[in-house]
């Protein structure tokens, strides 16, 4: 295919990540996940399945949680992104992180960044959910260690009015 107007092999994007602005050169086929991990070395975001089933790569993009393995880097030009690295303030854990630790909702930790960010976006939308609502909300985050019970309890502890 010949070069068509408006298409480019490499593109520069402006993004705000965890409150910091960045100008980055990205490849069209690079995913947001790869950009975070390989370019910015923000390796808290994990790659699990690579096709949108496991939620390990969840980040918050303009206020909504998304699977970063299904987003292309050039698509996020002009956006704001929150990753797990953006939650704690000067080493003090955010309340959701604290609740996960306190309830033993973490074992190997691989799913934790995604689950914590899903929880954050979900609670922002629905601050007082019921347990069934919580279970539906985390359906897109697979955990192979905990059996979900402690995760649900951690989220319940934040959900109480």
């Amino acid at each position: 295919m010949g070069k068509t107007p408006g298409t480019i092999k490499k593109t520069s994007i402006a993004v705000t990540i965890n409150g910091e602005s960045h100008e980055l050169e990205v490849k069209p086929w690079q995913t947001l996940l790869d950009m975070l991990r390989e370019v910015l070395h923000l390796t808290g975001t994990k790659e699990g399945c690579g096709d949108g089933n496991c939620g390990a790569c969840t980040v918050i993009l303009d206020g909504r949680e998304v699977n970063s393995c299904l987003v292309l880097a050039p698509e996020v030009d002009g956006s704001e992104i929150l990753t797990i690295e953006g939650l704690s303030v000067q080493g003090v854990l955010d309340p959701i992180q604290r609740a996960f630790v306190d309830h033993g909702a973490i074992q190997c930790g691989f799913c934790s960044p995604g689950l914590i960010l899903t929880t954050r976006a979900f609670l922002a939308e629905n601050p007082h959910p019921t347990e069934p609502e919580i279970r539906v909300a985390i359906a897109g985050n697979l955990c192979r260690c905990t059996g979900y019970d402690k995760i649900v309890r951690a989220i319940m502890s934040l959900a109480r009015p």
Binding site: M1, I8, G52, G55, V66, L70, V136, A139, G140
Partner: protein, 296 residues
Amino acid sequence: MPQFDYAAPQTLKEAVDLLEQARGRALPLAGGTDLIPQIRKAAKQPALLVDIKRIPQMSRLEFVPGKGLHLGAAVTCGSIMRHPQVRDMYPALGQACSQIGSRQVRNRASVGGNVCNGAPSGDSLPPLLVFEATAGITGVSGTRQTTLEELVVGPGRTTLGPSELLVEIVVPLPAAHSTSEYCRLSLREEMDIALVGVAVLLAVEPDTGRCLEARIALGAVAPTPIRVRDAETVLQGRKITERLLDRAADLAAGAATPITDIRASAEYRREMVKVLTRRGLKACLSRLTRQGGGRR
């Protein structure tokens, strides 16, 4: 990930020109929740992705009083299910959108993508069929309108040309005294594809209980989502009794031509069409009775 080029045009004209120039080697990109995994496993090998999300018309989500609902092709399933008028006036559509993927997927996946994938099991299609939604399409030589029923022609096939874009879906106002319901069965409640999906729209005259309008559409049990007009006709104009519900459910099941696959057998799917059709009609009836006539 295989390599491809990326463009994010801001106008429909630029977008269709890019598709036209690429002569079949470009694909439109909306949410990417289906397309990106397909590219990754080389099921699709585009030379160029044309991201349609920067085109204003593609993101329109607006209820126009007295007219209907405008859904830009790139509008996400998440924003549709959260929209107050969708919940109010198009419950079947909101229910269907809320059952697609996970929260993460719904925040990206677009209604246009769900339609254009042409999957027999696409959850948004049965509700859009019962609302008799239409599609607005733009190509290099102009625009055209078609019904959604005519747009999807086979598994993974639509009437869209390689340089045509679905721009918006227009969902007319539902009939007076009507409500709607989407019932779906899958092996797991979340994160799974429908074994059977049934959308029902029912309008009942408040005083007499006579059926003013009945529309039933099935998903995942035929090469495309289908309307089952025989089943609708038996309800039309009659007072709805248990026997009539059975009759409509039987006719719906009779119209289904399901396949046996890894998820379920054809026989089971056909039986479940019966169950879900009945369940959908009953849900509409009880809501209409509770609300004293549904929307006016």
